[in-house]
Amino acid sequence: MSLVVEHLSKKFGDKVAVEDLSFEIPKPGIFAFLGTNGAGKSTSIRMILGMLARDTGTVTWDGKPFDVMNEKVGYLAEERGLYPKYNILEQMYYFASLKGMSKKEATPAIDSLFSRLRIEEYKKMKAEQLSKGNQQKVQLAAALLCDPDIIILDEPLSGLDPVNADIFKSIIRQERDAGKYIIMSSHQMETIEEFCEDLVLLHHGQVVMSGNLNEIKKSRGRENLTIKADKPIGEIAEKCGLTLVEETPNGSSFKVKSEADAENMLKAMVENGIGVIKYDLREPSLHELFVEKCGGEVNED
């Protein structure tokens, strides 16, 4: 089974929200859906889920048109919410009934999810009585209630403290290991690197990077060099063709055009009797790729 998104486009008036978005999730796992604020991620997700009409494009699941009403889909929206005045358990039963589950079917699922998320004691409370983090946990439980095949998590970890973030990560891992197809959007690049193999990066509604993260990194080569030395190295670095990015107490960071330039730099330092405390040549991080592709400008709408 695979989820295939092809040529999705959407305009609001004259403004292009999403243009020709295509990607495929061919096997279970976590797919990263990235972009700056206002890049079109939420619009794309809404189009995939059929909440928003597409101008062009198709979404297929297992070769057939994807209809969220006929599939088991879990969705944790970026703008989360619960009925503030209603009892949590009653809300969960309501969500379960909308997914076609009886109360009898829903009860063990709710118990299990609330136990995994450590929120059993909040079942009888009203949503407005819960902290933001606990409300977020209830919403994740609601998203996973029907044991979905496809899970869409829009910024699942935003606003969570480290303890709750770890609980969320653990649940996401469990779902991944259970063979679910997960689309995750996040601005926390470390989290994406930790979980995702494949990604798509949107900027101003257009795909600016997509594919397997490791392959993208490999294709770029090791271009980041960090050196900490016991003497100044600025002059040598310039002679070797290195571009200084920043200097910190932990060392100087350079961009190198090729790994050969980095090796020349090391040789030059040794030849000049400079003591090397730290020498780290590595691939670009996702954060760096993101900033590079999306530039310094972001769209705050």
């Binding site: 809404r46 909440m51 969220v68 969705y75 929206a77 009925y83 009653e90 309501y94 909308l98």
Partner: protein
């Protein structure tokens, strides 16, 4: 299917709404008020008649007259024993001479008695009564007046029969002549009927407007809460927008109808429970005590006539009238709640809801006044006809107009069909608009924006 899941939305919305404190407390308080008003409306007239009669004497246990000394100084063989026994008074016949002596005795006695002389003076049948006086006397003047009034009615009735009037004509003779005046081509009606036909439609329009409009606003509020709390985005992974709004509107419609029925039942129950002390039972008791409807006194007859007129005015209240009320209530609710749903969906923040509802409020108030003003005017006019067929006002007019017989069943059905067709058009428009604006966030959408987005 676009409406799949509406039942779940309906069940959840209905259950949650009837569990709210505002609904429970509001329903209990208004039902109690309705019961109290109905009971008061039943008891109060009886109280006035009762106090009149009690003062004038028909309270049984506290009645201060036990003996009536009767001196019949006419040629007619009046028999008042049976009528007086019914109110616990024993009749003791006296000659005119004995009567003179008795009057002297009654001037200072503890005896619970009164004396009545019946005579004809200048062709007028008269009764002159004296009640026991003095320091020891416990006789109440009011009781004496009641016995005297009953005596006069009985004497009048028996005089007519003794003069040759057949007994089956007695009620007619005693009721006097009822005079009415009306315009040619119109049915004559009494003052009470005229009042009922003016007041009931006005009250009905006000009550229906309050119910339909306030619950429509709750629909808008519920939808705005779903939007402002962002829960709607989650819901739309399980259900289409159309099903969401259908479930919500129908649930609120049922909640309001249920509250309407509960309050109505409260009023009915208040009326039933007050029956032993109410005007109808009182009138029956008075008639029974007086020896039949023919024996009612003038004020009692007036009261009976008022009750008869009320009964006649509401004679059109049958199953069809109740059905018309329920159907127009539902259709009216669908119309206003559908529009309110769009108003609710046009905002992303609760604080924007009031201005979003404002245009709907204007439409609702226009509809209400279109329904209300012709009723105030009282007479049938072109505005009252228009009000029945214009969908924004017809839900407030049709039930009372049909109930009071102002329009025929056929006219009512035509007006209902017009309203239903308009409802369908509105629901189709609402469904289209709602689907396109439900995920909108940001500033409140104006009508033009909504229509543009729905193209």
């Amino acid at each position: 299917m676009k409406t799949k899941g509406w039942r779940e939305v309906f069940a959840f919305t209905f259950t949650q709404q009837i569990k709210t404190k505002s609904f429970i407390i509001g329903t209990i308080v208004i039902t109690l008020i309705a019961a109290l008003i109905a009971a008061t409306a039943n008891i109060l007239p009886a109280f006035f008649i009762d106090s009149k009669v009690s003062e004038s004497g028909s309270g049984e246990d506290t009645f201060s007259i036990k003996t009536l000394y009767l001196s019949n100084e006419t040629d007619y063989a009046f028999d008042l024993t049976a009528a007086m026994e019914k109110i616990g008074v024993t009749v003791s016949a006296l000659s005119s001479d004995e009567a003179e002596k008795k009057i002297a005795e009654l001037a200072d006695t503890s005896e619970k008695a009164m004396l009545s002389r019946v005579f004809v003076e200048k062709d007028v049948l008269s009764v002159e009564s004296k009640y026991a006086g003095g320091e020891k006397s416990e006789v109440n003047k009011g009781d004496c007046e009641a016995v005297s009034q009953l005596l006069a009615t009985q004497l009048h009735a028996q005089f007519l029969v003794l003069s040759g009037l057949p007994e089956d004509k007695l009620v007619t003779a005693m009721a006097g002549v009822r005079a009415t005046i009306s315009c040619a081509g119109e049915e004559p009606e009494g003052f009470v009927t005229t009042m009922i036909k003016s007041i009931v439609p006005m009250l009905s329009a006000i009550v229906l407007f309050i119910f339909i409009f306030s619950y429509s606003q709750l629909v808008a509020q519920a939808i705005a809460i779903e939007k402002s709390s962002r829960i709607v985005e989650y819901l739309l992974t399980s259900i289409r927008p159309l099903a969401l709004i259908i479930g919500k509107v129908l649930a609120m419609c049922c909640v309001s109808l249920m509250q309407f029925v509960i309050i109505g039942m409260g009023g009915g129950l208040g009326f039933l429970l007050s029956m032993p002390f109410g005007i109808f039972t009182k009138m029956d008791k008075i008639a029974e005590a007086a020896g039949g409807a023919a024996a009612l006194t003038g004020s009692q007859l007036e009261a009976q006539n008022v009750l008869d007129e009320i009964g006649n005015a509401f004679s059109g209240v049958d199953a069809s009238a109740i059905l018309v009320m329920i159907v127009t209530f539902i259709l009216g609710f669908l119309l206003y709640a559908g529009l309110a749903g769009v108003a609710g969906a046009s905002v992303s923040k609760m604080e924007d809801l009031a201005p979003a509802i404002q245009p709907l409020s204007i439409v609702g108030v226009l509809g209400f006044y279109l329904a209300y003003f012709p009723q105030v005017a009282g007479e049938e006019n072109s505005l009252s006809v228009i009000a029945r067929y214009v969908p924004i006002s017809s839900p407030f007019v049709l039930p009372s107009d049909y109930m009071l017989g102002k329009i025929s069943l056929v006219e009512t059905l035509i007006a209902i069909v017009v309203l239903a067709v308009f409802d369908i058009l509105v629901v189709m428009l609402v469904a289209k608009v709602y689907e396109h604006i439900i995920l909108h966030t940001g500033n409140r959408l104006k009508l033009g924006d909504m229509l543009k987005m729905s193209k």
